[in-house]
Symmetry: C2
Subunit: 339 residues, 2 copies
């Protein structure tokens, strides 16, 4: 068993229950005064193309340019003054780092962000612009964890994991909660999956309001650990990935894996080509900027027959399916676009 | 006098009164069921940068990707069946052409669009996608007028000028009317100026609801005919321009010049560099896609001291000025971005 994934070996997946509905309502009350209630947009041309009525929850317009501020704000404002006395440290490919830096500044505490060297320049600038200190590391899961532990040991900072944390998951759940509060009769919701914070939050946030709704995770083929984990029933960690969806290079944690096993209805994969072409399509048709990680949530729906293949129960009103799509962020480096 | 501008020679500018407030209300009632009521967005980071509270009227999200559908729809649905029996012809660098093509399709009539050869590929595709026939011409005012006259003679199509037309101006005025209906106490509104349809409509639409509001036109330095016309008091036609703001290469017409002389409070110029950098700034900060022609409306405000230099009357509430900016369109060719 020496080569087994360390997560598998040490953490029985049954140990983690999803955050309670109460904790999500509390998170929402805590963060609502600080963040945007982002708009839900529609596009008749995309509806026609896909053969469904799609409602896009636009967290690309969220503070700091991504949904990550939801969980970061909930986590940081849940802590005691003693907890944050020596600052906060986290690890992030960018958006969670910017969110921790921003929410840390709101709370008035020092922040450190461990970032992989291959994160886009625009994300480094964002983290630094909120006043955090950046610590670079190699782009692997192990290197990230080690660097974060080192900063923590040196500074005494409080470590907030980007997704293996109930306060983070409860915060991310508020995006789906807002979407369902606005469009109550969705048949399914699609969200990108990386470490699984947004996706497990989406499961809890959406199913809390509409228990029979289907939730699908969307993942790059080049970073398909969630797909493989759920298919195999064992947590499959991916050490590194070079997918263009730079926000989706992390792997599930024991906690998010456990929640997804219970609540998610499937994982859909997207190739690099599909991700790039979906990004461009959204920019052109909707005139909004989403990052490739967001486009992963719509890319699988753009294949011919994709909606029919989901085999959703027919709607009582006889209409085309009503689908929610969570656009997770809009932070792109305009100097190095993939098209 | 042989070299005098033909417009000056033949058309006394005093002949044109602005469209009445009633005609704008009628236009709005006529087009509202067919077009979007576009959102008004704000950005705290841009407010901080500029030192004002700015409200962006986002006609980049409008049907066909620009405000032009407002005037085109009003004009086409004002016509009798006899008027449109042989179709409709217009001349356009792109957005008005797409709008005429789209509104023509809604009405069920044939359309021809005369376009300059140097219009962006994305604008050709848009015009054709709505079913219009494209007739190419050299990128000069004279060539456009001649080509449109030729199509008209050959087909019997009804000619709708892109801006020298009260029905078009009344339609374009509905953007400012919507903006003022939503944000009633603006101190000033900024709109790009090309042929002057949007800007003269903005004057009438905004001042109809708030008589003392200031209206500023924003224009590329490389296509500064409106600036020169208003400065000199005589209509200055610009035969051609290669500004990156491809929607702003036309010149004022006698009608729009007359209206602007009466109602506009000033013309602000933007260099090519300022237009490109403003476009990028809006994409990055607001996560929305605007075309460079839209960015012209914000570019002059990004200079240090620009708002103070406007010398607006102080607000009764003692706060920073409340400014409206009209983003005219979002049709860009993602294959050839200027950054």
């Amino acid at each position: 068993m020496a080569h087994m994934n360390p997560h598998q070996k040490t953490v029985p997946v049954e140990d983690f229950a999803p955050p309670s509905w109460d904790s999500i309502k509390q998170a929402h009350a805590r963060i609502a005064p600080k963040i945007h209630r982002t708009p839900v947009l529609i596009s008749s041309s995309l509806d026609k193309l896909i053969g469904a009525n799609i409602f896009f929850k636009c967290d690309n317009f969220q503070k700091t340019g991504s949904f990550k501020i939801r969980g970061a704000t909930n986590a940081i404002f849940s802590l005691t003054d003693a907890d944050v006395a020596h600052g906060i440290v986290t690890q992030s490919s960018g958006n969670h780092g910017a969110a921790i830096a921003c929410a840390g500044a709101w709370r008035g505490v020092k922040t450190w962000v461990v970032m992989p060297k291959n994160a886009p320049a625009v994300k480094f600038r964002a983290v630094e612009s909120y006043g955090a200190q950046v610590a670079l590391c190699e782009p692997t899961v192990t290197a990230r964890n080690e660097a974060a532990a080192r900063v923590r040991a040196e500074t005494g900072a409080y470590l907030i994991h980007p997704y293996d944390d109930d306060r983070i998951i409860a915060g991310q759940a508020t995006a789906a909660k807002e979407l369902l509060e606005e469009i109550g009769d969705l048949d399914a919701v699609f969200a990108p999956v990386s470490g699984g914070g947004l996706l497990s939050g989406t499961c809890v946030g959406a199913k809390g309001l509409r228990p029979n709704i289907r939730i699908f995770g969307c993942e790059p083929e080049r970073a398909d650990d969630a797909y493989r984990s759920l298919a195999s029933g064992t947590l499959q960690c991916q050490e590194s990935s070079d997918t263009i969806a730079d926000g989706l290079r992390a792997s599930l944690a024991p906690r998010t894996f456990a929640i997804l096993r219970k609540l998610v209805d499937g994982i859909l994969l997207a190739s690099e080509e599909e991700i790039i072409s979906a990004t461009r399509l959204i920019w052109e048709r909707m005139k909004i900027i989403i990052e490739p990680s967001s486009a992963v949530a719509i890319a699988p729906l753009l294949r011919a027959g994709a909606v029919a293949a989901l085999n959703l129960p027919p709607r009582a009103d006889g209409r085309a399916p009503k689908l929610g799509v969570i656009f997770s962020g809009g932070n792109v480096d305009l100097s190095s676009l993939p098209f």
